[in-house]
Symmetry: C2
Subunit: 230 residues, 2 copies
């Protein structure tokens, strides 16, 4: 009846097993700005061993949305594994090392292993919650708030993975890409970054983020600009 413990144990077990499967796949090195296309990439599930990547969707009006950003250690493509033809594409943001397994072959087998199935559900839930946060941010916040959310989000995710310890990290997104991620234009991203820098809240320069005032950044991530203070 110790459900939480059992759940946690199962998840740990599932993670370990899935990692083992990925480690048996031959890793592949990708350059920055490379799309996951071709025979080696169609319909696969990937483990992102190193580097950053993102999921993009291009609209008919020649606009691009970046729907999600993947960090080292993320699993990519489970959600599209059941569906044959993915509308979205994966793009590396940095040189990256990925290990991929064939989805159609493997998925039934993967789900036949209960701990792995549970862990995969957990991973899908995590991704869902990431998108929940992003969607809520884009729906409700202005440009300052959205940037604050994004910078804090990457900070927390990197810290949870123990990839950083201080509030300083490398952000391999161009301003155009940040704009695509947050639903804004690069010009406006630039202006807001400048104002955040001048207020000594966060310094984003040349792909390097230095959070100067974590508290004020967190406040920004909650509030929307008000024409008049409340």
């Amino acid at each position: 009846m110790n459900d939480p413990v059992r759940l946690r144990d199962e998840l740990v077990l599932g993670r370990r097993r899935l990692r083992t499967i990925f480690s048996s796949a031959s890793p592949r090195l990708l350059e920055a700005g490379e799309l996951f296309v071709g025979a080696d990439f169609s319909n696969r599930i990937y483990y992102l061993r190193a580097g950053w990547a993102c999921q993009i969707r291009d609209l008919a009006n020649s606009r691009r949305a970046i729907l999600d950003v993947y960090l080292p250690g993320d699993v990519i493509g489970i959600d599209t594994a059941v569906r044959a033809r993915p509308l979205e594409h994966i793009l590396t943001l940095t040189p990256a090392i990925v290990a991929g397994i064939l989805a159609e072959d493997a998925l039934i087998e993967l789900m036949a292993d209960p701990p792995i199935a549970l862990y995969i559900t957990c991973l899908l839930g995590q991704r869902q919650r990431r998108m929940d946060r992003l969607l809520a941010a884009i729906s409700c916040l202005d440009a300052r708030g959205r940037l604050a959310i994004m910078l804090l989000d990457f900070y927390k995710r990197l810290r949870r993975r123990k990839l950083i310890s201080a509030p300083i990290y490398n952000l391999p997104l161009t301003q155009v890409q940040i704009g695509n991620y947050l639903g804004l234009t690069a010009a406006h991203i630039n202006r807001v970054l400048r104002s955040l820098r001048s207020e000594q809240i966060v310094n984003v320069e040349k792909h390097s983020v230095i959070i100067l005032n974590l508290e004020r950044l967190a406040i920004l991530a909650q509030k929307r600009a008000a024409t008049r203070p409340l």
Copy 2:
């Protein structure tokens, strides 16, 4: 080696089994505008037998985002099942009938049944793709495009479930809620709906949607307003 067929068969089997489990749970009747809270609702997975519901997230600045809208036949809450404390809440939009099973008890058991596990992964993928579309729409499209996407999306989902046949349906969202869903204000929703009506594209009045020109609506859902035509 006939993988697609086997995958489909497994999915059908998983759906049937999950439905059976839900049908053994005692259904519950909810009024419109009721939150899924209380002992009967904490940490559960639901099957929405009848009625509409939505997932909401309130921000610190007293803004509300509607992250997803559920139609009859949808399964709700799998993504939050692994996580103990859900930040989001479920709200009925109409009177509804739901059947819920305890997530913490059941999830491990559910995932121990491979077809069910596979089907659940499929459901999570579907939800993910819904949110992908919404996020891309809010990121890239103006108010007309977002409304077009939303109205078409509900139309397609209802038709796929065979809940409607003609491009006419009941939309139990107030204009404030539509605004929360699309990241706009009710006042602006009102303006855009009026203009769409005057152009004989779609008629939205008193919770009833009548698509007059499906083709032009689909075009709107792809384009963003340009200051000058391309």
